[in-house]
């Protein structure tokens, strides 16, 4: 390995992860190079934080140390797309948008639609990022069928495989999903794909009260309609707009959209999705939270948020994003978490402006499995060099 191949250089202030400027940055371009970097980092006991498109570096807590930022963006090869098997193998640094373009040419897609621009596959897996179509396709844990990671000591380990149905061995892809680089560096991912639906139609319904989306989503869930997404955009205590998306063959989306208008008691049919579809709410000055709860609790969740909070919700799944005014967040978060807990709910910080970041508990309560999580971390990364401090319980 030479410095040229891994593109080693000093970290820049604008590359700070949660305010921590990496001492150095490396950009390996092969799995073997990642393994070499990790072995060398182990020898020198360096802390390592992996990053891809850097679109979600604020989604985990700031690292307690970052000697080395491992930039995966040069691991950018789509290794194998077997269209007949609806499977693709792609390296972690491949950008989702680029992959979708390539798959789309073959009439296929990866059923993930998190909106962060520039997001890479490795980053999406590590942050477990999802978007509105999770209602139809599920999330990374449902679509990832194989993963290769490089552990802190340089071990290259794969789990899963290249076939959708496979129960040989532990499914470690699920363990790495949402682990925020605290167990190892995800270097390659294998996915189950879906055909691109040929037609699309949405029903848009204005709601004087955003909370009305709750019972409407239940009504949709209890019908035989098969929407790809049921998205609320609105404000807590204020108005909202519900968008119900159908994607299928032309006859089906027409029939379903029309049935949805009847079921919802109104709404207009549109062919094009509004530009705001799937976007996270609020502005960079806000504190952005991801809420997860029992789906029927949506009205209670909205009621627990400070009045006027900008919200989007995947209303039929029990996931919402809320942009709290920074001035509200420090006081409101504990009460919000207590209210959510009644619905098995949690609130995780995705983004907070500098002045309040340090005053907020990033992850909130984790439950009785935290010790077990700690034991898992100790086995994978006994020296605590992988993204230290970024995860729950300071892991």
């Amino acid at each position: 390995m030479t410095t040229a191949t891994v593109g080693r250089r000093p970290g820049r202030p604008d590359e700070a992860v949660g305010g921590v400027v990496p001492r150095e940055v490396v950009s390996p371009s092969t799995v073997a190079e990642v393994a070499e970097v990790m072995r060398a980092a182990a020898a020198d006991r360096l802390t390592v934080v992996p990053a891809g498109g850097r679109s979600k570096t604020s989604w985990a807590a700031p690292p307690s140390s970052c000697d080395l930022l491992l930039d995966t963006s040069r691991l950018d090869r789509v290794v194998e797309h077997v269209a007949g098997d609806l499977v693709v193998v792609a390296e972690a640094g491949v950008r989702l948008a680029d992959l979708q373009a390539q798959l789309g040419a073959a009439g296929q897609l990866l059923g993930l639609d998190p909106p962060e621009p520039g997001a890479t596959l490795g980053g999406i897996v590590s942050a477990n990022a999802s978007g509105p179509r999770r209602l139809r396709y599920g999330t990374a844990r449902d679509l990832l069928i194989g993963a290769t990671v490089v552990l802190g000591d340089g071990t290259v380990a794969s789990a899963g495989g290249k076939v959708v149905k496979n129960v040989a061995g532990y499914d470690l892809g699920k363990l790495y999903t949402g682990a925020h680089g605290t167990l190892g560096v995800v270097v390659s991912t294998t996915w189950r794909l879906h055909p691109v639906p040929v037609a699309r139609r949405a029903v848009v319904l204005d709601l004087p009260a955003a909370s009305a989306a709750g019972p409407l989503a239940v009504r949709l869930s209890r019908s035989t309609l098969t929407p790809s997404a049921v998205e609320l955009v609105g404000t807590a205590g204020g108005a909202g707009q519900l968008l119900v998306l159908f994607e299928s063959i032309a006859e089906s989306v027409a029939a379903q959209a029309s049935a949805a208008v009847t079921l919802l008691g109104g709404g207009s049919e549109v062919e094009e999705l509004p530009a705001t579809f799937g976007r996270r709410p609020g502005s960079p000055d806000d504190v952005l939270l991801r809420l997860a709860y029992l789906p029927t609790a949506l009205p209670e969740v909205l009621a627990a948020l400070p009045h006027g909070t900008a919200v989007t919700a995947s209303a039929a799944t029990g996931v919402a994003y809320a942009a709290l005014a920074s001035s509200d967040a420090v006081d409101a978060l504990p009460a919000l978490r207590a209210a959510l807990a009644r619905h098995d709910g949690t609130a995780v910080l995705l983004r907070a402006p500098e002045p309040v970041r340090g005053r907020l508990d990033h992850w909130g309560p984790v439950g009785d499995a935290l010790d077990l999580m700690r034991r898992v971390k100790e086995r994978f990364d006994p020296e605590r060099r992988m993204s230290p401090g970024r995860f729950v319980g300071g892991l």
Binding site: A43, L151, A157, K165, V167, G169, L225, L294, G367, E378
Partner: protein, 494 residues
Amino acid sequence: MTAVAEPAVSAGTTRLAEQLRSTVGAERVLTDRAQLRTYECDGLANFKVTPAVVVLAENRQHVVDTVRLCSQAGVPFVARGSGTGLSGGALPSADGVLIVLSRLRRLHPVDADNARVVVEPGVINLWVTRDATPHGLAYAPDPSSQLVCSIGGNVAENAGGAHCLKYGFTVNHVLGAEVVLPDGEVVHLGGAAPEHPGYDLLGAFIGSEGTLGVATELTLRLIRIPEAVQTMLVGFRSVEDAAATVSDIIAAGILPAAIEMMDALAIEAAEAAVRCGYPPGAVAVLVIELDGPQVEVESQFSQVEQIARSRNAFETRIAADAAERALMWKGRKSAFAAVGRISPSYFVQDGVIPRTKLPEVLGEITRMADDVGLRVANVFHAGDGNLHPLVLFDDAVEGQADDAEELAGAILDLCISSGGSITGEHGVGHEKRGKMGRQFTAEDLDTMQLVRCAFDPHGLANPGKIFPTPRLCGERPGPRTAADTHDPALGEVF
């Protein structure tokens, strides 16, 4: 056939049995050899081990007490549900405790608005759908054994079924689990909400074949019963045409609920057993089911029919009602047992290949069987490339069982070399652990065992399953190549 040696029950385990009697109640603790023998194997009857002790748990506390006492005594334990597993996953330890969970059978009321239900592990798979149906809901994973298999066993094996082509596997439908860890501690993984902060330990637990702990309660996700379901039985004169039809359907952008395939020998067996009326003279049949909104199903159904015809289907039969649909499925779902009608003995194999390699792999299996003079009936989930070759043999013929076992193993090697897997739904269990090293590297397996060591450092939960060589958890974790292969030149870099 392989039999596992049965060492004598140790004094420590005998003492443990006494402790169990006083803690969980003598009437729930079996140590009589004749009674114990009921539990010597699961659905894979060619491996048998009589456990030292059986505990018939009736509630979570019985499980916690039993596991804790095992942990204190350093005695291994194995959890067992209905015992229908096909890889020896519930094979007991001779000097260990078998915890039978089939009396933990509580189903909580269905939460219809959230499409969730909480159940105990001994609940039978089909009961969940039975309870959900009045609400217009169903539990998607439908292994062929769903009349008798338990949810706990489904979770251990990450069970699939015919409809997992469209709906996914057990892991996609279990949202939360209460788990007794191998030291007796109770933890809650996942829950009723769709996400929880922290590692997805639930995802690692499901499919871990009882090696990470014992689930005592599960939160399941239910699916909406689709507006329309249509099922078609299609007869072909060649396996190649049937396989090509499967590929063409997928290539047309259609995702059926299920595509199942049976070859001539499997059809013969099913006919003999349940008279399902499959097309006479068919060398292969496909059972294709589409579900969803009415208009979608109707349009795609006629598309599928055209595809099949263009691949020389000679008979296409469409189920007119639920009774006809049930008959089509009966032939398929009874196929394993039916093979007993045409062969004194058989091995059920479970392997996965990329769907696009179906024709060549099936051809190769036939050649391999011909070479050793054996017959192989093929029944499989064609949509996802999950093969179930049934290797037929006669115990009475000297050496034939060994030949059959060898052929079944060679078929797995073929699955691996085709880019597939040694198991799609039956699990690795006791039976296939020797093949794990073919599918995975030593580093892959060591990394999986890091999880095992975190959950179960003393290796007491279902030992001897999945992994060819257990990792000693006291070992310093590290790559096999370790620091001695570290390139000294790297010192210049860092």
